[in-house]
Structures are given as structure tokens and as C-alpha cells.
Symmetry: C2
Subunit: 137 residues, 2 copies
């Protein structure tokens, strides 16, 4: 069985999808990612789909599921590297990538996650101890 590798880069997990996703590969990737998020405490998942010629409803659903799982584990998912033709087809097919944020490339995805994570600390964590102190970052 093919297994998609999950690479850790700083606070981010990077997945580059290059193989055709089977049911089994997709489930394995979801499990691997969930385990790595918990093990590493990463706050971002970047999924690169540069290599994909086609994003059908199966892949779309897989991406949505990964985004939902990551969200529960306090990690933001960004899909990057979508080809122009893929974007056009997605819209034509009426497939909306629910709950998925996109960015042009890995670097912009990293910026997006960094910005989102900062926002989270600024506005959402009002009940954390010590939150009233001045932000020293």
C-alpha cells in the first residue's frame, strides 16, 4: 500500500500528494496526520496538490475530512499548489471545498497559518491563565 509521507517543518506538517488516492491510502493519511498533530503539537497542516491533475469529489471530501480532523486538534489546514485547470474544474463541477483554506504555494500557506495562529492567540484564548498579561511577542 502506498503511504503518503508527512514532513514536519517547524510548526507545520507538510503533505505532498502525488499518488492516486485509494480509500485505504486516504484513511491511512488521515490517521497518520492526526497522530503526527498530536505527537508534535503542530498548529498547521499544508497539503500540496501540485502533482494532481484532477481533484474529484473523493479527493475533495478527503481534504475536507482532513481539515475537520485537524481543526478539532487545533491545527489549521491549508491546501496549496492547485493548478489553474483544477480550480476551473472544481467550480464547474460545483464542488466547494468546505472548510478548506487555500493558498498559492507552500510559502504563502505558511504565512497564512502563522497569521491565523497569531490571531487565535490574540482573540480566542480569553480564558487561559496569564492571558491578561501583555503579549511579549
Amino acid at each position: 500500500m502506498e503511504r503518503v509521507p508527512v514532513l514536519k517543518i517547524g510548526d507545520i506538517l507538510l503533505v505532498s500528494i502525488q499518488v492516486d488516492m485509494s480509500d485505504q491510502t486516504a484513511v491511512q493519511l488521515q490517521e497518520d496526520l492526526a497522530e503526527r498533530i498530536v505527537a508534535t503539537g503542530c498548529h498547521g497542516v499544508i497539503i500540496d496538490i501540485t502533482a494532481l491533475d484532477i481533484v474529484d469529489s473523493f479527493v475533495g471530501r478527503m481534504l475536507s475530512t482532513i481539515a475537520s480532523i485537524s481543526k478539532v486538534l487545533d491545527a489549521e489546514t491549508v491546501v496549496v499548489g492547485m493548478r489553474p485547470a483544477v480550480a476551473i474544474t472544481l467550480v464547474e463541477l460545483g464542488l466547494s471545498l468546505n472548510g478548506i483554506r487555500t493558498a498559492l504555494n507552500v510559502e504563502r500557506g505558511m504565512e497564512l497559518i502563522a497569521a491565523t495562529h497569531d490571531d487565535d492567540y490574540g482573540y480566542d484564548d480569553i480564558d487561559e491563565p496569564g492571558d491578561q498579561s501583555t503579549d511579549t511577542r
Copy 2:
């Protein structure tokens, strides 16, 4: 034809090899990498082989060729994510990865490239204009 995506992260190009490399895919990857190094001016290439069960002489030679091409274009190549079984087989087969540096994972590979690049500036660039001035980094 499968095409292995090349991802740019800061000063580094990242390639995650997941598919079986054919002659054509290997040549395409070498061309893509050489073009991207020139276009981006990146100083490091990280090749992740986590997904590879087998590194035979063909893949070994491809990695060596990529490292040599990158070197000519002033970029350091580091192979990361080698599985224990792959390392054992490589040694047993007597395949030495000529001119290839390895690191445990992507993050260590990045550190290695950053360190090498700093060294280069410290010792090798003796003929560059302004080199006599104090290093301000």
C-alpha cells in the same frame, strides 16, 4: 508521465519522492530542479525519500546526478528521511551515495544547509568584492 513537484520553502527547494522513478521522470526532475535553482537562487535542495522502500543503483545514481548538478549551480543537496532498512541495504549492496549528504529529517537537513551556506561565505568567497569588510550577520 508522473512529475515530481518541487516546493520552495525559503532558501530551499524540497522534493518528496513518492513514485517509482522511471528514466523519464528522473530526467524531468533533474531539469525541473536545475531550472528552479536558477530561477529562485535557492542554495539548498532537500530530497525526502521517506516513501521509498528501495533505493537501488538507479535511484542512487539519480540522487548523485542531482547533487552534482545542484553543486555546479551553487546549491547543496541533502537527502533526508532514509528508512533504516534502506540504509542497511545500501551498505550491503556496496552502493555509496557519492557526493550526497544525508540528514535524519527535513528540519535537520535545513539546519545542515544553513550551516554549510554560512561556512561557504566565511571561507570560500575570498575573491568577492567587499569581502574584507566585517561580516555583519
